[in-house]
Symmetry: C2
Subunit: 186 residues, 2 copies
């Protein structure tokens, strides 16, 4: 059963807590009257402040041009309860299917971008494309996170992490080592 997360604002410098572990994410976009969603696994945090993310999106993907033209997208973090949706979205194309409708997902109006948030996800990061230097050569977008929404609970989401070959790793236990880290390395 899907979760219904209540959300709060998160300082954009803190999004690494949710992206650095490497979850498979859903990227929502809007161009003119059309919206779309894609599944993405190739992304990395690039900086705390400004809050930056880099990601590779195949140019053949229907979302590629929507994100390139609009200069915006939302990175949504789904949890294990949404596994069928994650796989379905990754194996269909916006050229043929309205994915919000097909997968029964709810659009929420974002604050700083035109692309919609996906309500059912644990977190939503509103992003603007800030650098296209590596776009023509590698399809690599550099994004700035301009607004972040995250579920009030649980503290640690049960994300899924794609291994290839139709297999995901589901986020396991959390282990903390306070006192073993220098302050600047937290």
């Amino acid at each position: 059963m899907r979760r219904n997360y209540r959300k709060k604002d998160l300082p954009v410098a803190d999004i690494r807590r949710y992206l650095e572990p490497g979850p498979t994410v859903l990227v929502s976009s809007r161009w003119k009257e059309e919206t779309n969603i894609m599944t993405m696994g190739w992304h990395t945090v690039m900086e705390f402040s400004p809050s930056m993310i880099g990601c590779m999106i195949t140019a053949a993907n229907y979302s590629f041009d929507m994100i390139r033209k609009s200069g915006e997208c939302v990175i949504n973090i789904p949890t294990y309860d949404m596994i069928d949706t994650i796989i379905g979205i990754g194996n269909s194309t916006g050229a043929e299917v309205d994915k919000f409708e097909e997968y029964g997902l709810t659009q929420v109006v974002a604050e700083k971008v035109q692309a919609p948030l996906i309500k059912e996800c644990y977190a939503n990061f509103e992003c603007k494309v800030i650098d296209k230097q590596l776009l023509s050569r590698y399809n690599f977008f550099v994004l700035e996170v301009v607004k972040a929404h995250v579920a009030v609970a649980p503290k640690f989401p049960r994300t899924v992490h794609y291994r290839g070959d139709a297999t995901f790793m589901v986020a396991g236990k959390n282990v903390s080592y306070p006192g073993k880290f220098k302050a600047q390395n937290l």
Copy 2:
């Protein structure tokens, strides 16, 4: 207790199996007579073939200049049994400590780069820096994996995934959905 992995060659196009889930990795480097190791969490797969990885390394890091000058490094994937080493390496600097010696790690000669492999890790990916376009602005290296070594077993490594705040997520269960993926999306 540390594992003693027996390893085999892995086709470089297949490294996403181990990097896409987002593990914290150890990056080894060599410049002239000196070697070093750093802990890294900000990386992403960028392409299957050529096999490409992008990663952000803070310029203040001792490894930064070693990798920039040599144009090479090895990305090593450690497992949960090495957690104290992972944290220790991330909280010390090669300017003060010989990390191989300090943490009792074993250097193995790589095949295609001068940087050493870390024997105790589950996998070792030999890399060459192939693009420095984003280096001056974002400290972002684009690497090509030129040789990959991976443990024969287990099939799925118990990696650690950094959440910030001195907390790691340990890789959990694996779930497979054969038949739900289109062949080109595996």
